[in-house]
């Protein structure tokens, strides 16, 4: 499993498509930093989209994906992130846009 969230089917074509779409919009916003890879973009999307995102235990995180784990863990606990979820839960379009925007902002910070 390349991602860090429980219950997400990372090899599903639609899941991959969603992650790619997030990355594509982020790059159009000017995300050239390469801050997010496909797996992180999927994780950010589902952190916003799912009502209750749950991370897998740290010892199950794939090698090299520990950074993604800590980013997502941090996001989930942030009050601002949670207030964003008022708009994004179970809404794939808004989750996509907010994910892309987040990646853009963090990447350019």
């Amino acid at each position: 499993m390349p991602g860090v969230l429980k219950g997400v089917r990372y090899d599903d074509p639609v899941t991959i498509y969603r992650g790619e779409k997030v990355l594509k919009i982020a790059s159009k916003l000017g995300n050239e930093s390469g801050f997010a890879d496909l797996d992180l973009s999927i994780d950010i999307f589902y952190s916003l989209y799912l009502p209750f995102p749950v991370t897998i235990p740290l010892n199950e995180v794939p090698a090299g994906k520990e950074r993604n784990y800590f980013i997502i863990k941090e996001f989930i606990d942030l009050p601002d992130f949670n207030s964003l979820k008022l708009y994004t839960i179970a809404d794939s379009q808004l989750s996509t846009l907010v994910s892309a925007s987040l990646i853009h902002h963090i990447g350019s910070a």
Binding site: P13, V14, I16, F52, L86, A90
Partner: protein, 757 residues
């Protein structure tokens, strides 16, 4: 009326609702469709089973055939009639080997049944579970030895006083001898040899020879000046031209295959063959409580594995490399029968000839009984894990049965798939009372076969006229199978026929009444000369196999189809509309308001392009017709977003693009599929919440309280979203699933509220 037509169209079929819809859309849009099926191609050494249990190496069925398509009348197992045999040559194949050693070599896109449905062989991975058979039927009739075989053999050895019995049938006794011969025998032009290895086996061979040919071995040798004598230690030579010729016939052309006559024989005979084989080359391993057969070539073992299935005995083939060396010269293979039920069946139905081996096998069974035995598979099929998928490069001849009804067949122990598409088209033509023409194209098909022969009398008068009665120029609905296999003369004629509905023939231009032409192919054409014709099919439907849970219904329906076709010549069902009605509906299609979807359509084309899926301008324009047809089929005069789902029939060029397009459409369009998917994701996640809440509900802490309040808020948002999804979709399936999700949300929220009180 349209809905009734659609219902009547799909009524005789199972799991073919989408194909029926494609046919209806094609007719409404007055367009042409090509069905692309998965080519179910297997290599020549694959054993297939006839429905009566006779087994064949598939290249025996196709012996002498060059690549092409051939009509056949062959009933396969599971029970279905194959009506065509397709022979191809490919550059790449995949060899799929399971843990039990079932093996099949197939084209990379050949679908095999797995526990997650049909999967292309090239996409299988070690650990995937493929469907294997644990029991197959057995034929009833004994194989007769043709008289000319015996006559020729006797003629060769002269008219000496032969009082040896000439066997007329491949019976149990002869099969036992052949089993030993397969393990230990060799053939020379003048004699048959056995490397017996032990006195016990030599005596057994002598006894069987004496029984089969009704001769005293020494006496016959003397009387006929032929010598059947023990040669050097360990070798027995039967110096008989007659026996040598008979064994040559029995053994066939390949010493690395089980005799085709054994494969065709009833299970009593094949059991005798196996008994001889296991007696000569098998052993009982008390250590592993199993019966083991060794060979350096896995080919024989694979055939033995299939033959054992007639007795419900499931075996496993393993590759053994002694001493850990990888040198192929030391490599050998073992077939192992293990497990209590398998061993019991083996001993009771196959067994050994010698008392010693019989007793050893029985003691194995006793040992296993004392250990408590093991469960055995109860059904005739089970799953086996894929051990290895090897990609083999090099020109290979492959074969494919075309099975109109059930689409799948037994191949070397595994279940393979095949598709058929013509029946629904024929059904549509019958329901519309339309003039129908169907033909199977090969590169040798002459234009006259499609367009009718030239009128010789008219030609004498200097006129170029075709007698096209009952041929394609007169058809309103046509079905051309293997359409891309046609030669260039036919391909050129079809180009104008599809585009302009005009047949340019010699000096004449013939406007034809063709409404829709349906083509079928087992592969996406890659040749540039076929590209133009492929592009003219606005609708390209990639046909998938029928899901496994529908097989029982499918078999019942197939049987009904066979009966109706036999007794009535066509499938029943009232005529709900005719070609006149179809023309009226087509006018409705042309008047559909497409404005509401044009913006979204343009956006989708941009998304396809950005994902590397190019759509030609011609197809972009033509897609409107199909969108409008979908709206009419749904009873609307105005297109809406859900109608854009038909782009999956217009945009993809091949299987890879189909997957991309399906993904894009499922995410970008508000369709029931998308709603269901989103709801499933929410449902899974809300269940996680429920478990989390239950695990914390008895803990008194401010953190838990704060967390619960936050979850409650998120659940309320989720609930609102689920309700709005339900209202948006207005689909019964979506409503049902949304109801389930809401129930879980409410239950979780109630638990939290109770805790917070």
């Amino acid at each position: 009326m349209l809905r009734e037509f659609l219902k009547a169209l799909q009524a005789p079929f199972v799991g073919r609702g989408e194909e029926a819809r494609v046919v209806a859309l094609t007719l409404l849009a007055r367009e042409h469709t090509v069905f692309i099926g998965e080519p179910g191609c297997v290599s020549g050494d694959t054993i297939v089973s006839a429905s009566d249990g006779r087994l064949f190496y598939i290249d025996d069925v196709a012996r002498g055939l060059t690549p092409g398509v051939y009509y056949v009348d062959f009933w396969v197992f599971p029970h279905a009639r194959a009506d065509e045999l397709h022979v191809y040559e490919v550059l790449e194949t995949a060899e799929v080997i399971t843990r039990r050693g079932f093996s099949i070599r197939v084209t990379l896109n050949h679908p095999l049944m797995t526990d997650r449905g049909w999967v292309k062989a090239g996409r299988l991975k070690p650990g995937d579970r493929v469907r294997v058979f644990t029991k197959i039927p057995s034929p009833r009739g004994y194989v007769k030895i043709p008289r000319d075989v015996l006559r020729k053999a006797l003629a060769k050895q002269g008219n000496g006083s032969v009082d040896a019995k000439q066997p007329r049938l491949v019976d149990e006794e002869l099969a036992e001898l052949l089993g030993i011969f397969t393990a230990r025998g060799f053939l020379k032009p003048q004699y048959v040899g056995f490397n017996h290895g032990s006195r016990e086996l030599r005596e057994l061979v002598e006894r069987l020879v004496s029984g089969v040919f009704n001769v005293d071995v020494d006496r016959v040798a003397e009387l006929d000046s032929r010598r059947i004598r023990a040669g050097r230690v360990g070798t027995l030579r039967l110096n008989s031209q007659f026996m040598a010729d008979l064994f040559k016939w029995l053994n066939g052309y390949s010493s690395r295959r089980v005799s085709r006559w054994i494969l065709l024989s009833p299970k009593a005979v094949s059991a005798a063959f196996l008994r001889g084989l296991f007696e000569a080359a098998g052993e009982v391993s008390n250590q592993g409580c199993s019966v083991v057969l060794k060979d350096v070539d896995p080919g024989i073992l694979r055939a033995v594995q299939v033959l054992l299935l007639r007795h419900g005995v499931l075996s496993a083939i393993e590759e053994c490399v002694p001493g850990g060396t990888r040198k192929s010269v030391n490599k050998y293979f073992t077939l192992k029968v293990s497990g209590l039920e398998n061993l019991k069946r083996f001993v009771s139905e196959v067994g050994f000839i010698s008392r010693r081996k019989r007793e050893e096998a029985e003691s194995c069974i006793s040992l296993l009984l004392n250990k408590g035995g093991d469960p055995s598979p109860g059904s005739s099929t089970a799953f086996d894990e894929v051990r290895e998928v090897r990609i083999v490069r090099g020109l290979t001849r492959v074969y494919d049965f075309h099975i109109p009804a059930t689409h799948s067949f037994f191949t070397g122990g595994l279940l393979s798939h095949n598709t058929a598409k013509s029946a629904i088209v024929r059904r549509a033509a019958e329901l519309l009372n339309a003039r129908f023409f169907k033909y199977l194209l090969t590169r040798f098909t002459e234009p006259a076969e499609l367009f009718g022969p030239l009128d010789i009398k008219a030609l004498e008068d200097g006129k170029y006229v075709r007698l096209s009665r009952g041929k394609l120029p007169e058809a309103e609905i046509a079905f051309l199978d293997e359409i891309f296999k046609a030669n260039s003369a036919i391909l050129n004629a079809l180009n104008s026929l599809l585009q302009e509905r005009v047949l340019y023939d010699g000096y004449t231009e013939l406007v034809v009444p063709l409404w829709s032409l349906f083509g079928a192919s087992n592969e996406v054409p890659e040749e540039p000369e076929v590209a133009a014709l492929y592009d003219r099919f606005v609708i390209r439907h990639f046909v998938r196999p029928v899901a496994e849970d529908l097989w029982r219904d499918l078999l019942n329906k197939s049987w009904e189809i066979e009966r109706e076709l036999y007794y009535q010549g066509c499938l029943g069902g009232g005529k709900v509309m005719d070609m006149g009605d179809l023309r009226k509906f087509h006018k409705l299609v042309l008047s559909v308001n497409l404005e509401p979807v044009k913006t979204k359509l343009v956006k989708l084309f941009a998304v396809f392009e950005s994902r590397g899926v190019h759509v030609t301008d011609r197809r972009k324009g033509k897609s409107l017709k199909l969108i409008a047809a979908n709206a009419v089929l749904e009873g609307r005069g105005e297109a809406q977003e859900s109608d854009l789902i038909v782009l999956k029939y217009v945009v993809p060029k091949d299987w890879d693009e189909l997957e991309k397009v399906n993904t894009i459409l499922s995410e970008e369009l508000k369709t029931p599929y998308r709603y269901l998917r989103e709801l499933e994701e929410i449902k899974t996640n809300v269940r996680e919440v429920m478990n989390y809440v239950l695990s914390l509900q008895n803990i008194e802490s401010r953190f838990v309280e704060m967390r619960f309040r936050q979850i409650l808020r998120d659940l309320e948002i989720t609930r609102d979203r689920v309700v709005s999804l339900m209202l948006e979709s207005r689909d019964p399936g979506v409503e049902r699933l949304a109801g389930e999700v809401i129930a879980i949300i409410d239950s979780t929220a109630d638990t939290i509220r109770r805790r917070l009180r």
